[in-house]
């Protein structure tokens, strides 16, 4: 049985300054941002983009159906 390889030490992405920081951090070592708050704001932004994209897709599909009819 082969000896296991080196298990990488993971890091966490700061959504404020885009630097990677230690996963146990609460604040970013580079910009001082609150990592959890920045992550929540990022998730909110992603959700908004997804909602807008879904609405756009639905509108395009509806228009396609109307034109076909």
């Amino acid at each position: 049985m082969a000896e296991a390889g080196r298990i990488p030490v993971p890091l966490r992405l700061c959504r404020g300054c885009r630097h990677f920081v230690r996963i146990e951090n609460e604040l970013c070592d580079f910009c001082g941002g609150d990592l959890a708050a920045l992550e929540a704001a990022h998730a909110e932004g992603v959700a908004e983009i997804r909602a807008v994209t879904a609405a756009l897709r639905a509108a395009i599909a509806a228009r396609g159906v109307a034109e076909a009819g």
Partner: protein
């Protein structure tokens, strides 16, 4: 690069945590001959003539079986120029018959339509073609007039036979300013995968220090690559930075984003999920590493024995922060990065553990009004995979020497 293997759309050569735990040589890079039809100024192996004692066809077939036994998923054939070996098609067929993917990395000078057709029939999955710059820049680096056009013709041949085509590019002082225009050319030519590596001071490249980038130039290289990666993704081109590009500056996520922004460099993976093989059967943990890293030869030991037990193959899983030196020893990212690419660090500094070719490091020096400059202090001897030695000069960002790094 570590990714979730559950995402089946990723190339099979990408490794996951399970591969590391089982230490599967997911990606094997095999120099099947050192014979070459180009004369590249940066060639680490100083390819040209065959090695004195390259493996026979029977030995190559046996090696294919041994590679498959270890669980490898992908075998990349390199040279020299792999197609100059008479039995290269048989080797491709054997690799495919053993259940592994096979790709060819080539300069493409004589990758004719007929050759590509034969390779496709043998089961070749993909071809990566080396294109470093545009026109004369490429021709000069590759040592053959017309080699740029030949490489583009090879790309067309590969696509005509329905194979996936990628491009490999060396980033150095002569090519850096052509990368943006080169990206347009390769997208136009139908390329979807672009692998970039910084020219490492090994073999012929060690004889051309003027070609090598300086550490402070990472402040130009990394933002550019991040920009090209984002733009490339929008245009259907997947940019793959080699392990010697990094590390951990503000562009890390954008550069290494493979469908997940939280992916980052995890350190050298030589000997954990990567294996290199020389044409005479020498086994290494990474194809570019110099001879002290050779684990043995398959003429003397079984591949599994070398992979699992040879101590020179184990340096990566033994390495700790205590093994680092110079700037890397006290770096914020030391525990994760472990001084980045072993090949690059060893080729420059004569030993691993301190790698000046780093964006985070360049930014840190710059913030203090300083920069690092490499000066060659020892020539390479002229052998395959040899290297010289460089000294780091720390100087004012404008250029005046301040102190040397230990």
């Amino acid at each position: 690069m570590i990714v979730e293997r559950a995402d089946l759309s990723l190339p099979v050569r990408y490794s996951g945590l399970d591969d590391i735990l089982k230490r599967v040589p997911v990606s094997v890079v095999w120099e099947i001959t050192l014979a070459c039809d180009l004369a590249c100024q940066h060639c680490g192996s100083r390819a040209g003539r065959r090695r004195r004692d390259e493996l026979t066809t029977a030995e190559a077939f046996d090696l294919v079986d041994q590679i498959a036994e270890l669980g490898a998923r992908s075998v990349g054939l390199i040279g020299g120029e792999a197609y100059l070996r008479k039995d290269w098609l048989q080797i491709i067929a054997a690799i495919r018959a053993a259940g592994m993917e096979c790709d060819l990395q080539t300069g493409g000078r004589n990758l004719t339509d007929e050759r590509v057709g034969q390779a496709a029939a043998a089961g070749l999955n993909a071809v990566g073609i080396s294109i470093d710059g545009i026109g004369a820049t490429h021709d000069r680096l590759r040592g053959v007039i017309g080699s740029f056009e030949m490489a583009l013709a090879a790309m067309r041949n590969v696509r005509a036979h329905g194979l996936e085509v990628g491009v490999n590019t060396q980033i150095n002082a002569r090519t850096l300013h052509e990368l943006r225009d080169l990206m347009d050319i390769i997208i136009e030519a139908g390329c979807h995968n672009w692998q970039l590596a910084i020219t490492t001071a090994m073999g012929n490249a060690a004889d051309h220090p003027d070609m090598l980038l300086q550490p402070w130039q990472m402040m130009e290289v990394l933002p550019l690559l991040a920009e090209l990666a984002s733009e490339g993704r929008e245009r259907g081109l997947f940019l793959q930075p080699a392990s010697n590009i990094g590390y951990f500056g503000p562009h890390e996520s954008r550069l290494r984003n493979v469908m997940n922004e939280e992916i980052h460099f995890h350190g050298c993976n030589a000997g954990d999920t990567v294996m290199g093989i020389e044409a005479d059967g020498t086994i290494k943990s990474c194809p570019g590493l110099p001879s002290p890293y050779a684990g043995g030869n398959i003429r003397d030991r079984r591949l599994r024995d070398i992979w699992e037990n040879a101590e020179p193959m184990a340096f990566n899983r033994r390495r700790t922060v205590e093994d680092l030196w110079g700037y890397c020893r006290t770096c914020y990212y030391a525990e994760t990065c472990l001084a980045g690419c072993t090949w690059t660090a060893h080729a420059l500094m004569g030993r691993a553990g301190n790698n000046p070719m780093c964006h985070h490091r360049a930014l840190d020096f710059d913030a203090r009004g300083l920069r690092e400059r490499l000066v060659k202090v020892k020539d390479a001897e002229g052998r395959s995979f040899d290297h010289g030695e460089f000294e780091i000069i720390v100087e004012a960002a404008g250029g005046e020497a301040a102190l040397a790094d230990g």
